[in-house]
Amino acid sequence: MSKPHYDREHHAKMATGIGDPQCFAGKAPDPKFKVGDRVRVRDLPDIFYTRTQVYTRGCEAVVAELVYESPPAEDESWDNTENVEWFYSLVFKATDLWPDYHKTFSKDTIETEIPEHYLEAV
């Protein structure tokens, strides 16, 4: 790998007056999933830095909202802002995530945001 060259002004130039993540709007390919779809979180290898929580890996969820387009944090932390993808807000059942979560409270859920490349259809 050659020494990376970082344009420190890049983000400011592109996002000033527009905001982040707004500056990435329209840059992602068509979303793979829509509201109501059932998806599963892939357990991808983490290279240093991930915002996809360990507790979600391998678990199924329902898409609640398509929230915004952005490079995933995993790429952004390496200054790679080319791969813009859709981010989804997913709702997981607590009883799916935690085996000993009491069935009395089986309605309880967790909602969190995950980028598309971590998701596969169920």
Binding site: M1, K3, F48, Y49, S77
Partner: protein
């Protein structure tokens, strides 16, 4: 999804094997022992403000250090790929992780925001951003300056709240 760069995988292994050095730092241990925390001071002087006047300055410093989208894991890269030494930012999430660990091991009896301050200083020293000696020297300079002025002084970085109190005196 693109292929994972094999160089990244190697760096990842290096990173996972890297243990956070939580050994105590003498200067910080001394401050921990001898420094008076705001909880104590505010009670003694009857000040109602729940936060010390420097709290927001500390938050600002943390934000300024995170103010870069670039190279959060610089320290783990091979030497030829590291950024120039004068660009030592600390990614917010890394700083928080280190803070969590340091507080748990060394500073759990210290209240907020003093614990965040100690953890930040600790992180900066261990990462080689500043040295314990430099910090001690700077503290002496600051202390001389502050104590000479009896607590009322012109530092543009002081919060306007503190300046207002000073004017009220």
């Amino acid at each position: 999804m693109a292929e994972i760069n094999p160089d990244f995988i190697k760096l990842d292994e290096e990173m996972s094997s890297r243990e956070l050095d939580t050994s105590p730092i003498d200067l910080l241990e001394q401050i921990k022992r001898e420094g008076r925390v705001w909880e104590e001071l505010s009670e003694e002087y009857g000040v109602e403000n729940p936060d010390p006047p420097w709290r927001i300055n500390l938050e600002s410093t943390c934000d300024q250090l995170a103010n870069g989208y670039l190279s959060p894991f610089n320290i783990c890269r091979p030497a030829e790929q590291q950024e120039e030494p004068d660009d030592k930012k600390i990614d917010a999430i890394e700083r928080r992780w280190e803070e969590d660990q340091l507080v748990s091991e060394l500073y759990s009896d210290v209240p907020f925001p003093e614990r965040t301050l100690l953890a930040l200083a600790h992180t900066m020293i261990r990462r080689g951003i500043l040295s314990e000696e430099e910090l001690a020297v700077q503290m002496k300079k600051v202390s001389d300056r502050l104590n000479m002025n009896d607590g009322v002084y012109e530092d543009e970085a002081r919060s306007s709240v503190e300046l207002a109190k000073a004017e009220n005196q």
